[in-house]
Amino acid sequence: MDKRDELIKIFPKDIRVILGQVSVDFNQIQEIRLRIQAPLLMIYNNREYYITPSGKLSKRAEEAYLVSRQELKETLEQMSNYSLYAFEEEIKQGFITICGGHRIGIAGKTIVDEHGIRTMKFISFINVRISHQVRGCADGVLPYLYERGDILHTLIISPPRCGKTTLLRDIIRQVSNGNGPEPGMTVGVVDERSEIGACYQGIPQNELGIRTDILDCCPKVQGMMMLIRTMSPRVIAVDEIGSRADLEAIEYVMNCGCKLIATVHGSSIDDMKQKPVLGRMMQEKWFERYIILNNNGKIGNLDQIYDSRGNQLYGGFLYD
């Protein structure tokens, strides 16, 4: 099934007809947004367009197709394959991952109880974020991540929307499959927000390699412990660390002899040093490599690579 079919399938009949007439490369679509009684929008090649009833992309709001309440309800029905109840846990977090790894962000009225968000009702806003894998985007980074045939504890530091999860995904894939002279290793992934593997009914929709085990929608701290006890991974990969609880789990992972690859929000090494948890990790040289990304120019711009002592190993543009 190609991307067009995968995407069109999640909409009700009327919107299917409109999107079916849109003559764009579906691989370049970033987002499709639906709001009740608001224009149907598409983010295509970093630009926002209104979609007209005849399936054309327009810059004029008055030409846009307006999404009705019923269509939004039916979209929710279709994207969950008529089983919204089966996505209860995901709805609490505000997103659903569908076949193909695409993520549907949802917003509406949240119902809160003493345990936190219980569910969401009157869902009126939907953002379909199309999944993009960049295979090979870690090619330039990988030579810096190995020493004597073994992978090093690595931390990817990046501001939001700079491609840190995309880079982590490709590192996992290549470490798991093996790359060049380096043999493949068993990788355990704790995918708390289903962003790395984008599992749909337990099956990863993104390619994470042949030796990768994924704990989907599992809290990082428990997940790391569980993986070590049950799947004996050589490498553990997690996204967006930073809490005090993470610190203990990471320490446990490193003491077990596993290697850790993690990402964190931040903009520079100095920025990291200011943060209480990460500052301690850096001071005690827990990580052996720091990869810093920025968004200068384009997404996935590699800024620098440092070793544990703070020596700069690389600086400059690395991948498209």
Binding site: K9, F11, P12, K13, R16, K73, E74, L76, E77, Q78, S80, N81, Y82, S83, L84, Y85, A86, E88, I91, T119, K121, Q201
Partner: protein
């Protein structure tokens, strides 16, 4: 009157009497058969409703405890059971997997309408089965549970009512069939 004519009339009356007798027997057996068929049909409907209740319990388990999506839940239950209701569940699963863009309620309604016309379910059973699809799949598990429990309650009431009346109805249908047949036979002769 000549002896030949008397013989001829006698034979005529005999044949006519014989035909009437055969006709009466056919009417009585036909009407009685219809009565027995109605009584059996009543029992079959009761059995179908009891079986449906069992299937809905299985579906509830799949949805609430296995957290299976609707298509998978219908398929699992359909494969574990048999008969026209299992066929209905498998067809619903197939259409749900295909995701043709229509709302689930509409799809379920169409599937129930296409169900085996010779099935023992009464029109009102079919209607309440169609209504089950109105809220199935949407919102959270609580909603699914309540929806399924409401339907199970309706089924229970119908089953109880039918069980209470089973003996009486069966006797009524069979005796009405026989008596009706006798009455028609007398009337026509």
């Amino acid at each position: 009157m000549t002896p030949g004519a008397i013989n001829y009339m006698g034979a005529f009356f005999m044949i006519s009497f014989g035909m009437k007798l055969v006709g009466c027997c056919l009417i009585i057996s036909g009407a009685s058969g219809y009565g027995f068929w109605l009584a059996r049909r009543y029992g079959e409907r009761l059995e179908a409703l009891e079986y449906l209740r069992q299937m809905i319990y299985l579906l509830k388990g799949q949805i609430l405890y296995a957290n299976a999506p609707l298509a998978e839940a219908f398929e699992t239950v359909g494969r574990r059971t048999e008969g026209f209701l299992a066929e209905l569940f498998l067809q619903a699963a197939d259409r749900t997997y295909r995701q043709e863009g229509e709302p689930f309620a509409q799809m379920w309604k169409d599937t129930v309408e296409q169900m085996d016309k010779d099935s023992p379910l009464a029109p009102k059973d079919r209607q309440s089965l169609k209504d089950l699809g109105e809220h199935l799949g949407f919102l959270d598990r609580d909603m699914q549970e309540r929806n399924l429990l409401l339907y199970l309650e309706q089924l229970d009431l119908e089953i109880q009512k039918m069980r209470g009346q089973k003996q009486e109805r069966s006797r009524l249908y069979t005796s009405l069939g026989i008596m009706g047949g006798l009455f028609l036979a007398v009337l026509l002769c």
